[in-house]
């Protein structure tokens, strides 16, 4: 039997090591894409110039030490902190798109991880502007 299933996802990242590890892999991939460095437990300046401690910071190269995009996990939800305008000006992306990308990458890495625990093998991965396609072979 073969099927086609359409679904909507809602993510609440739990306080467990495996989930945090997947989130870090997702952030590392994004850091590489935008030319940033991922730093854990670091401060970032928010839009108003206030220093805010974050779980992770995507430190932008060539920017001052306080510049970057902060990532905080509150009640399992991802929140971004920083100068959204500067990020948009520099990378042509806004925080909303970045947040979507973090959750998309988190899901993709989670799918690949759990598939392996089910005895399946990731046989192909294709990434387009719109989607990530993962083939899991039994």
């Amino acid at each position: 039997m073969s099927h086609l299933t359409f679904a909507q996802i809602d993510i609440v990242i739990p306080e467990v090591h495996e989930a945090r590890s997947i989130l870090e892999k997702a952030l590392e991939a994004i850091a590489k894409e935008i030319g940033a460095t991922l730093v854990k437990n670091a401060p970032v300046m928010d839009f108003y110039g206030r220093k805010v401690q974050c779980d992770y910071v995507l430190r932008l190269r060539g920017a001052g030490s306080a510049n970057g995009i902060g990532v905080q996990i509150k009640n399992g939800k991802v929140t971004l902190i920083g100068d959204a305008w500067a990020f948009n000006y520099r990378f042509g992306q806004n925080f909303e798109k970045l947040q979507e990308k973090i959750l998309q990458y988190y899901t993709a890495i989670a799918v690949a991880t759990v598939a392996q625990t089910m005895g399946m093998k990731v046989s192909n991965v294709v990434q387009t502007e719109e989607a990530i396609v993962i083939d899991l072979a039994r």
Partner: protein
């Protein structure tokens, strides 16, 4: 070789397709995948599910075989 194809869009939608499975194994794999994703905080709400034409054919054939038998 049966394949489960997972498409993850940037706006939080997921499409899962079972390809080349026989019987209900694809739905079993789907269920297990969703349960394990839930443990990582990914709650998947199924909005629509379709059996592909070959699945319907297989089901019909199976029913006929049962009737004959």
């Amino acid at each position: 070789m049966p394949v489960t194809r997972v498409v993850i869009t940037k706006d939080g939608k997921v499409i899962v397709e079972g390809i080349g499975y026989t019987g209900r194994a694809c739905l079993k794999d789907l269920q297990e995948l969703l349960e394990r994703l839930k443990m990582l905080g990914i709650n998947v709400k199924i909005e629509k599910q379709e059996l592909k034409p070959e699945a319907v054919q297989v089901s019909t054939k199976s029913r006929e075989e049962v009737k004959i038998g």
